[in-house]
């Protein structure tokens, strides 16, 4: 028989997190701090709206780009929250989670050999989606000493004639790093100077704890025309399973993305779209409440780690902290595997998010205080034992 498989997809490694997932799956009693999704339930009014839409029989396709009513609400929301100005009709498409937007943007923009700059550690899909679109991923390893923010000199050094897109994954999963206005300004200058495009994944934009509102790179002068803006409902509104996101950008790019979307997907889930109208219109308070609780837990974890003398920069976004385990003289994977086997606590090795995650682990605080406390007590025991071993 002939080889049934495509060579490009066969050559892509499965997500590094998968291997770890398989070990944890064998340990039902382990306390996990390993998830990348909120612990809160979707606000009831949103769920109620979904039920109502089903009762009303709203079970058909929507237009390819998504419900017009929803897109108008989102445009309003983006203006109100992030000073972004998008035409809901021509510059926006509703997607199946933020992930579909990332995939489509690469497919709509890359030709074979085009390079995509990907600051790492980062979410797992930019690299494979670039390859699947025929592009070449070029990682930019970020440094802990810079709080995992992207520095202009790091960007400048990675640019070649072939560079087409810079991915901006902030607030960041797994590090929790954010890029503030003064961090973004020099990046914007370089992007414009080299005529690059930006794919900004701002799925965690509502979860920022700097005290200042989140700043989008798309809001800088001259950036809207060269930026694809990705966001969605998963993290901000605790709606991961609803699979609903959106992409905004220049209408020529969005038009091509809608073409891919219409042939591959048809439209984002109708029920989710109806529910999302309520989410975007009526849930600012729920979102603020969740943000405040995440922030409390973030402080709690940082303080616990400080008391254990574990090095950790202060992350200001998402719901992750990314402490350094370099002092224990083992790889991130070894640390996580031993922590799991010896103390039954699951955290994720930094290397699951790129090679530059070596030496760190991702701890998620999308958990109740009770859970965090039990897990941190065990981690404390673990590191105390490790330090004794190493003496």
């Amino acid at each position: 028989m002939r080889n049934p498989l495509n060579q490009t997809i066969s050559a892509i490694k499965p997500s590094g997190i998968r291997k770890f997932f398989d070990i944890v799956a064998e340990m039902p009693d382990a306390i996990s701090l390993g998830v990348g999704e909120p612990d809160f339930d979707t606000p009831w009014k949103v769920r109620d709206e979904a039920i109502y839409s089903l009762e009303r029989g709203r079970t058909f396709y929507t237009s390819n780009s998504g419900l017009k009513e929803l897109r108008i609400e989102i445009a309003e929301y983006l203006r109100r929250h992030y000073d972004l100005d998008y035409d809901p009709i021509h510059e926006m498409v509703m997607t199946v989670g933020g992930s579909e937007g990332i995939d489509m943007a690469f497919r709509a923009m890359l030709d074979p050999g085009d390079e995509v700059l990907i600051p790492q550690p980062c979410y797992v899909s930019y690299d494979p989606c670039t390859i699947l679109a025929g592009g070449v991923p070029v990682p930019i390893p970020l440094k802990e000493e810079n709080d995992f923010r992207l520095k202009p000199e790091e960007l400048e050094a990675a640019i070649t004639d072939k560079t087409k897109i810079l991915v901006m994954p902030f607030p960041n999963n797994p590090t929790g790093a954010v890029m503030e206005r003064e961090d973004l300004a020099p990046i914007v200058d370089i992007v414009i100077k080299h005529d690059l495009f930006v794919l900004t994944d701002e799925i965690y934009s509502e979860l920022s704890y700097t005290g200042e509102p989140h700043v989008s790179i798309a809001s800088f002068p001259g950036m809207k025309e060269r930026t694809i803006y990705i966001n969605g409902f998963s993290k901000s509104h605790a709606m991961t399973g609803w699979r609903l996101g959106y992409a905004c950008g220049p209408k020529e790019i969005i038009a091509q993305m809608v073409k891919i979307h219409q042939f591959a997907i048809m439209c984002a889930p109708t029920t989710s779209q109806y529910a999302a109208v309520t989410a975007i219109r009526d849930c600012d308070e729920d979102v603020a409440h969740m943000r405040e609780e995440y922030n409390d837990r973030r402080r709690y974890l940082l303080e616990r780690l400080k008391k254990m003398n574990i090095k950790c920069f202060e992350p200001y976004g998402a719901f992750y902290i990314f402490p350094s385990i370099a002092e224990f003289g083992m790889s991130s994977e070894e640390f996580c595997t031993r922590l799991l086997r010896e103390k039954e606590v699951a955290v994720v090795p930094g290397t699951a998010f790129g090679d530059s995650g070596e030496g760190n682990v991702r701890i998620s605080y999308a958990y109740s205080l009770q859970n965090l406390k039990r897990a941190m007590d065990r981690i404390e025991e673990f590191v105390t034992e490790l330090r004794q071993e190493n003496k």
Partner: protein, 160 residues
């Protein structure tokens, strides 16, 4: 700060003070001082436990009683309320807008006990015009807590 402390202890009055301090980015002494001050100011009036009595072997009957009264001259409703709330079997008394005046929440061991209270103590009060007793059949949610439901984390244990 006070509001945040209250929000936490309203839902979990047994929260560890060291944990609370870490959550709020403060220290234990400050939190303890605030708590004591709020107790002194009677902002914090007590620390209670939410119990689902249905799950114990203990029999309890609770009722919500709508009471219509004539307010007493010179003292309004407060004096009447006092005569009602001083009975230990009374859990709560609220002055209510609408078609009646007080909502009285009551707990007894048996139906008979509650009925006796209404007929022999509450109704005979001078200012009470009429009462309507509503027995509670099932408590679904109390103090913001859903009684029946045990929250289970159904997420995958690890995800990107």
């Amino acid at each position: 700060m006070r509001e945040k402390i209250l929000n936490y202890i309203e839902h979990n009055s047994r929260i560890d003070m060291a944990d609370l301090a870490m959550l709020l980015g403060s220290d234990e002494v400050t939190i303890m001082n605030e708590l004591e001050a709020m107790e002194a100011e009677h902002i914090i009036c007590g620390y209670h436990t939410l119990i689902n009595w249905d799950k114990t072997g203990v029999d309890k009957v609770s009722a919500l009683i709508e009471v219509r009264v004539t307010p007493q001259r010179g003292m309004g409703f407060d004096k009447v309320a006092e005569r009602i709330y001083n009975y230990p079997e009374v859990n709560a008394v609220y002055l209510i807008s609408g078609s009646y005046d007080f909502m009285v929440s009551l707990e007894g061991r048996t139906l008979r006990e509650v009925a006796d209270f209404v007929s022999s103590k509450l109704s005979p009060l001078d200012s009470v015009l009429s009462t309507q007793t509503n027995f509670v059949l099932k408590k679904y949610k109390d103090h913001g807590t859903i009684m029946a439901e045990q929250h289970v984390d159904e997420r995958e244990k690890v995800s990107p």
